[in-house]
Structures are given as C-alpha cells and as structure tokens.
C-alpha cells in the first residue's frame, strides 16, 4: 500500500554502517523501523537519535541472542506477526584479530559464528516470511569474502560463506518466482570504529557506504560493491594466479 509506512528491520543495528543506513531511511518518508541487537541500552540511544532525525517515524527496539537459532526464529516470527517487513538489513559483524584467531581456536569459532552463521540464520528466518510477499533482504558481506588472504581469512571465510548463502537464496527465490529480492552488499574498507586501528588512508566514509547500501537495496541489484570501484579491484584479485597472489603481502 502506498500510504502505509515502509516496515524496516535492521539486525545488528549498533554497527556504524547500520546506524548510518537507519539515518538515511528515517530522513526520507516516515518508516516503521525495528532495531535488533544485543545491547538494549545502546539500541535505545540509537533509537532516541533516530527519533530526533525522523520525527514521523516509529522506532522499536528488540534484543535477541544472536547465536541461538530458536531465538532467532521466534523473533522473526514475532516481527512478521506484527507486520511482514518490507526491508530487512542484516548488518552485524566484527573484525577479529587474525593472529589471535590462529592462536585461539575458541576465538576463531566465535568469529565464524558472529560473521557467518548468525547472519545466515537471520536471513533464512526472515526469508521464510517474506518469500510470499516480496520486499528486500540486504545482507552486508565484505570484499574480504571474495578471496581468502592471510591478513584476515577467518573474517574472509565467514563473509565468503555469506556470499555463497546469498547466491543460494537468490537461486531459490528465482525458482519460486518470488518478488523477494536479496541484495548482497560488499563494502571495501570503511572508516568506522572497527577499523580505527588500521591505516586511515583509503578508508571509505561510512556515509558513502550507507548511501550505496540504501540505494542498492532500493534498486534490488543482487550484488553491490561499495564504493563501486571494488567490483573491478576484486575481479582482478579473484583472477590472480596463485603464484602471483601468494607473493602479495595482503
């Protein structure tokens, strides 16, 4: 219906990129936005900010255990019951210390859980409800998922899994003739608190990446690199023969 506000759910809403996407969405027409995360306090502070930016929108906050499949299922069911979302953004993730992951298998397991398994479970849960109706599920992957490399391959592996999952879901939806679209966004390195320890030169401003996500979600493209130049860069990187790639210190 053109008049009822767009229903948007953001999973991992405390991430910097997600928060900037939320700001863009409430700055437009009024929306009914649900922020999902683990820390109720942080979510409330983000909600209060969004209410100032978008006084016509309604902002709700939900917490859930991001590693518990049953809880994720229950949450998706509850939200769909209130109203099937038009737009879901799956944005959670955290960049682990690669060296620490190599030393501590438990850390590696957590990194894979948070960056691979959890996003997939959320997407599956919402897809079930949205497949019959339509809308968009946007998943934030990463250029790191295009090819594993020594400086961050635990993170890269997780994001690679997410890429493969998005492809599979897109194939499923094409087969069922569903109006639901899946948009996989692959940001390059972005200036957020997650990258404050990395050289700052060349990091994309978070507003720019958020704008690419919001625009890409609107357009419904299956894969969006943000900024766009990474499409070309990663195509080259993906095709480098091993004997060349292995010499690169990245």
């Amino acid at each position: 219906m053109p008049d009822s506000p767009q229903r948007i759910v953001i999973v991992g809403a405390t991430s910097s990129i997600a928060e900037h996407c939320a700001r863009l969405w409430v700055a437009g027409r009024a929306v009914a936005l649900t922020l999902v995360g683990r820390d109720a306090g942080r979510l409330e502070r983000i909600a209060a900010d969004l209410r100032v930016r978008g006084p016509g929108s309604t902002i709700a906050v939900r917490t859930v255990d991001f590693a518990d499949a049953r809880a994720i299922r229950a949450l998706a069911d509850a939200l769909a019951h209130e109203g099937v979302p038009d737009q879901v953004l799956i944005a959670h993730g955290s960049l682990p210390d690669q060296q620490a992951c190599q030393r501590d298998l438990g850390l590696a397991a957590e990194a894979l859980e948070v960056n691979a398994v959890s996003p997939v479970l959320f997407a599956e849960a919402f897809a079930g409800h949205m497949e019959g109706k339509g809308g968009t599920i946007t998943i934030i992957g990463s250029v790191a998922g295009d090819r594993g490399r020594r400086s961050n391959y635990v993170y890269g592996a997780a994001k690679g899994l997410v890429t493969r999952y998005a492809q599979g879901l897109q194939h499923r939806l094409a087969g069922s003739g569903s109006a639901l679209r899946v948009v996989l966004v692959k940001p390059g390195p972005t200036a957020t608190p997650m990258t404050a320890h990395l050289p700052q030169r060349g990091l994309a401003p978070v507003e720019q990446v958020a704008r690419a996500i919001v625009q890409g979600s609107q357009a419904g493209k299956p894969v969006v690199y943000a900024p766009g130049k990474w499409a070309l860069i990663m195509m080259v990187i993906r095709h480098l023969p091993a004997f060349v790639f292995n010499k690169m210190n990245i």
């Binding site: 100032v52 006084p55 700052q200």
Partner: protein, 431 residues
C-alpha cells in the same frame, strides 16, 4: 598506531586512535588513561594532535539525545557535526546561532575552539549559546557544567583546546529562522579606510559581515560581504549540492606566486561587476568550501599554515595596514584572506580568541623558512598592537605571544586535566 594529520597537512604523526562510541562508557575509558580528545580534525595546526600518543576520536559519538522543536533546545553527543544539526533543525525552523566557515566540525571542537562566525557583533561566539556540557576527566570524575553551574569549569572548557577533559555531551540553544535564505549584499572597497567605514556602517543593519581582502595589493582593497536572514520560508529546499573534490595532492602548491596575482585580480573585478543585492542559500553562502572535498590538498605536499590574529580596534587600522604591507612585500599569500571586525562583546571562555577589534586570517602555503620569517614579522606587529593569535589555526606562534595574548592563562591552567596533552600544549604551555 596510525598516521594522523590536521587540516593544514604540515606533517603527519603516529597516533593511537581510540574511537569513542558509547556515551555511557566514555568516563570509564578515559579514567586513568592519557590522551587528547579529537573531533573532525579540521583545526589547522597542532591543537588537535598528540604525536606518539592517544587520540580519543569523537566522530562516532554522534547521536542526538533530545531536541525540543518548541524551545529550540538540543542535547547531543559531542561528536555530532554542525552540518547534521542544521540539516535536522532547519525543517523545524531552527539553525545554530553561530557557525564558522565550515559545518564539518564537531560540537566538541566548536566548543573547545569557541568558534565564531560572520555574525559575531550580534550573536557572539559558539560558547555563548551552550547551555551546558558534560566533561569526563582522566581522574575518573565527570563534571556537568554551564554558565551558571560550576561556571569556572565551563569558562575554562569553552575555548579550552580540549585540555580540561573530554566533552561527552552538550546542550545547545538554537535560534529561530524563517527559512534557509539570506539577503546578501556585496560592496567592493579600494582601501582599508573604506573597509573600516563599511564595517562600522554595516553593524547596525546587517547581521553578518565579512570581507575578502586582496592580500597582494598592500592597500587593503577587497570585497565586503554582508547578509541578513531573509523572511522567506521554503524550509524543504536545499541547494543542488554537487560535491567535487581534490582527488590527489598536486606535486606543488596550486596556490603560488604565478597563480595568486591573476586569481586576486580576477576575483576582485568579477565580483565588483556583480556587486549588489542577491538572495543566497545559507549553506552555499556560509560554507562555500564544504562541497570541495579535501580542498586542503591544493596546497601541495608541504601543506599550509593559517595565520589568524585579532588586534584591538585602537591600533587596528595601523596594525592591519602594516600586516598587509608585510605580506605584500613577502610575495606570499593566498586566495583565502579574510578581514572582519568583531563586536564589542566579551567571550565566555577564559582562553577564547574573539575580542573587540579586527581580525585578519590568511592561508599561506608552507614554503618553510620564508613563511616562518614572515610570521615573525607579523608577530611583531600583533605583539605591539596588543593582539593575539587564534590557537585553533596556529602551528607555530611563539610562547611569549601566547602568554601575552591570553591574560587568563594562569586561571585556565587550574582547570587543566593533567592526563590530557597535545602537541600544542607541549609547545605553548610546556606539557
């Protein structure tokens, strides 16, 4: 550790960047630690640098807490950009009463440098519109202060260069506007006497006044810009903002002896032809360079200095004249040359820069020794006139000029946070 430079790009140094993201955790993060709060790093010199040390970066501490559209009172985290405040508040009929030449600074940075704008004689400086702020200190204490509660802390923090603590939140009073439009007037002037006549004559009828001065002319010819808020609504309109950028650092400064004179000639004559009244959108009029990303790169790999001074009005005419002559004689200078009279109002901050008098601000490409030599000549003029240099722009003023220019320094130091230190504080205060 990552390399960080300030806006002048004079050098870059390794810093440990610690992003502040959660306002309820700042006090705990800062307690027992050493570092320097930093906003959007738009200060030109070293007020926002702490080479080899820690920077508490506030740009992710950028949430609104509450806004009351009836009273225009806004509570927000210290990392909110002035641009985001105004883009939110305009729709409700409010704008910030005071902004400098860019919106791309944080609230914390605006307070710490007590920034001023074109309407100083009517609305003073940024600190005049701060209702209160929350300060986290490295000894673990959190101080809630304002003009009437714990006023010493407040007066020390306004213009306090970040040295009194980390500003976490602030409450601001916005001002009512009918819309985003300004009625503007441009008047060419041929010498300094005409400038002062225009400046004095404009105070009563114009809220905003500033002038561009041809720094190579030696006689102080230039263009006087004045503006008033227009009673035209249409709050939804925003100018078509096509952001351009300077995508790389050119190998030499684009501002140089060959480019400056023709630019100044053209700029003066073209604008003299366009002199008169016009309607302008406040964003384009007030923040003309904000849409040119990384414009500071145009000064080349050595970066640039900004020299901004204020001299008391009595000595003003002679001092400004002497400075313009010294600049002309040196052959150095820049497109960006601003001359403005301040209003007769005291600043709230102990270390605030604005005072009654006339301020001259210029950018200079960094040519090393000749640039520093010119500054020494300018220092002598400022010192003799009893003036001072603006810390937010400064990278090299001598310690004696800092001490003579800021008589409340000793009082300010009583509020200093011993865990907070910057390259500037080490240079000018000794630690």
């Amino acid at each position: 550790m990552v390399r960080v430079a300030s806006w002048g790009r004079l050098d870059d140094h390794e810093h440990e960047l610690v992003p502040l993201v959660d306002r309820t955790r700042v006090a705990a993060q800062v307690a027992g630690a050493r570092g320097l709060p930093q906003g959007n790093a738009r200060s030109y010199g070293d007020v926002c640098l702490n080479p080899g040390g820690r920077l508490w970066r506030t740009t992710s501490l950028d949430r609104f807490v509450d806004f009351d559209p009836a009273s225009g009172r806004l509570r927000c985290e210290a990392g909110v950009l002035l641009r985001d405040i105004q883009r939110m508040s305009l729709a409700h009929g409010w704008l910030l009463p005071v902004t400098p030449g860019t919106q791309l600074i944080t609230v914390g940075g605006a307070i710490a440098n007590d920034v001023h704008g074109k309407n100083h004689h009517v609305l003073g400086s940024f600190g005049d519109h701060v209702l209160g702020l929350t300060l986290a200190r490295t000894d673990g204490s959190v101080i809630d202060c304002g003009p009437e509660r714990q006023p010493g802390w407040f007066a020390a923090t306004v213009g306090g260069m970040g040295l009194t603590g980390v500003i976490v939140e602030a409450e601001l009073q916005l001002r009512r506007v009918a819309g985003p439009w300004l009625v503007t007037d441009t008047v060419p002037y041929r010498n300094l006497d005409e400038f002062f006549a225009l400046a004095d004559g404009s105070e009563a009828g114009w809220e905003q006044t500033v002038s561009w001065v041809d720094c190579l002319s030696g006689i102080g010819r230039g263009l006087f810009f004045r503006a008033n808020p227009a009673a035209i609504p249409d709050r939804a309109a925003r100018p078509e903002a096509r952001a351009a950028g300077v995508p790389f650092v050119p190998p030499v400064s684009l501002v140089n002896a060959l480019s400056l004179r023709p630019f100044n000639e053209t700029y003066f004559h073209l604008n003299s032809l366009k002199a008169g009244h016009a309607i302008a959108h406040f964003e384009k009029y007030n923040y003309p360079l904000d849409n040119l990303n990384d414009w500071n790169r145009m000064y080349g790999p050595r970066g640039f200095y900004q020299y901004q001074s204020v001299v008391p009005r009595a000595a003003g005419r002679a001092a400004v004249g002497a400075m313009l002559e010294a600049i002309k004689a040196s052959g150095q200078g820049s497109f960006l040359a601003v001359l403005k009279t301040f209003g007769d109002r005291p600043s709230r901050g102990m270390m605030s820069f604005p005072r009654p008098g006339v301020t001259l601000a210029l950018d200079f490409p960094n040519r090393g020794a000749p640039t520093l030599a010119l500054f020494e000549r300018l220092d002598a003029i400022v010192r003799e006139a009893g003036g001072r240099i603006y810390a937010a722009k400064d990278a090299r003023m001598p310690r004696d000029l800092f001490e003579s220019g800021y008589p409340r320094l000793a009082e300010f130091l009583e509020y200093r946070d011993p865990g907070i230190s910057s390259a500037m504080s080490r240079r000018l205060i000794g630690s």
